[in-house]
């Protein structure tokens, strides 16, 4: 599939709690998204340099992520720092994973894919997490149903009468995700998040049911 360069949301920030990791995909490439104990997020290729196992099956300790299989530990720069079978070894700087630039904005975790033209970081948006919807539908069908994203990667969408912001993640050919947040607006009444979360289920049904 085409892999347009740019920033893509890969999770709601709230769904990646401190000291946890999760696997996901972007254009079919497996990624691990993890948050260290200090709260910083990291997005890497989901592959342990040792034998290629998925790092998202592993676990986070402090500011390291450890592979489940043989316990190799990687620091926040993706550099392997510790190999349990050789505890005294000074690990070679060649043993490192591929890392991607990432940031948090509008309650979402974003990864930079490719080398998009450097633009100033978009202004922060105050928003509350709603939910991530995972759909069996290609990302293009989501774009057709929701509308095109603005330059900041967010689609402004009306969900059951309330404005929401949506970021579409192309997972792989027939699979995609819509990460949905509700903008915090001081003048508006507090959004009924439960009602909107229920409306997400209806939205998913209508997009999946739509003719390709």
């Amino acid at each position: 599939m085409d892999e347009p360069e740019g920033w893509y949301a890969v999770a709601l920030g709230a769904d990646i709690e401190p000291s946890t990791s999760a696997g996901t995909r972007l254009f079919g490439h497996e990624l691990v998204v993890w948050r260290d104990a200090g709260g910083a997020v990291h997005v890497w290729e989901d592959r342990c340099p040792h034998r290629g196992m998925r790092l998202s099956f592993g676990f986070v300790r402090g500011d390291h992520i450890a592979c489940l299989y043989h316990g190799w530990r990687y620091d926040t720069a993706g550099q392997c720092r510790f190999i349990p079978a050789h505890p005294d070894l000074e690990v070679s700087p060649m043993i490192r994973t591929r890392t991607y630039p990432c940031r948090e904005r509008a309650g979402l975790i974003w990864v930079r894919w490719g080398a998009p033209a450097e633009e100033a970081e978009p202004a922060p948006v105050a928003a509350s997490p709603l939910r991530s919807l995972y759909l069996e539908a290609p990302a293009a069908r989501l774009a057709a149903a929701l509308g095109e994203a603005g330059p900041d990667g967010l689609v402004r969408f009306d969900l059951a009468g309330s404005p929401v912001l949506v970021a579409v993640q192309p997972l792989a050919g027939e699979a995609s995700a819509a990460h949905i947040v509700v903008p915090d607006t001081p003048e508006a009444p507090e959004a009924d998040l439960g009602r909107l979360a229920a409306a997400c289920v209806t939205l998913r049904r209508s997009i999946e049911g739509a003719a390709p």
Binding site: A11, L12, D15, E17, T20, A22, G23, T24, R25, F57, F59, L68, R131, S132, Y134, L171, A177, L193, G194, A197, A198, V201
Partner: protein, 209 residues
């Protein structure tokens, strides 16, 4: 009290019972059964304890029970003096039973898919996987919606045997090729289950040493 459990270590139905024994802090003698490849549970003497030839089987004095969900309900009613694991309150009780039925029926596809993958048994892999994904999606929607009401568990207000019955299929889903990518709500819920006092792991559910 002397509890005896006939169990096969890799069986997720037996694991449900082990989770309940841990949560309730109960001592239990475990009798390992050669389910794969031996199918020991389908022959005497076990077939005389359970004519269905299935595992797990719990023996408590003169009581002999089969079906993991029934065993969980029995253990909770009998040994949980606080009465929280199988709540008395009618709504929470009904919800607990609803999810126990879900664990037995909808998640059976996950059990079969996992057996087919682990033990090379015949089975329509893609169809089973599709049904397991559909069931996980129902669970994901439910736990996500409840989160907006400040509820962290499947039924009632606290952890129940429904959570213990639902946990193994999801936690072991990578054994049959379903990653946790699409289930952020279930990921967070399974962390809560892992944090319950007396929680135990099994092969396939890593112990983060």
């Amino acid at each position: 009290m002397s509890l005896r459990l006939y169990d096969y270590e890799l069986d997720e139905n037996g694991y449900k019972v082990r989770l309940a024994l841990g949560a309730l802090g109960l001592a239990c003698e475990t009798v390992g059964v050669d389910m794969v490849p031996g199918a020991e549970q389908t022959r005497p003497p076990l077939i005389d304890l359970n004519p269905l030839g299935t595992l797990p089987i719990l023996v408590d004095g003169d009581t002999v029970l089969r079906e993991a969900e029934a065993i969980l309900a029995y253990l909770a009613r009998r040994y949980d003096s606080a009465g929280t694991w199988l709540p008395q309150e009618p709504v929470a009780f009904g919800e607990t039973l609803m999810w126990l039925a879900f664990a037995t029926r909808e998640l059976h596809a996950a059990t079969l898919a996992r057996r087919a993958a682990l033990f090379d048994l015949p089975g329509d892999g893609p169809a089973l996987e599709g049904r397991a994904r559909a069931a996980f999606r129902v669970m994901e929607d439910h736990i996500t919606l409840r989160g907006f009401s400040g509820l962290d568990w499947f039924a009632g207000t606290g952890p129940t045997i429904a959570d213990l019955a639902l946990f193994p299929a999801f936690a072991l889903s990578r054994d049959f090729g379903i990653d946790h990518e699409a289930y952020p709500g279930l990921r967070r819920w399974s962390r809560r289950v892992r944090g319950l006092p007396g929680f135990r792991t099994m092969p396939g559910i890593p112990d983060y040493h």
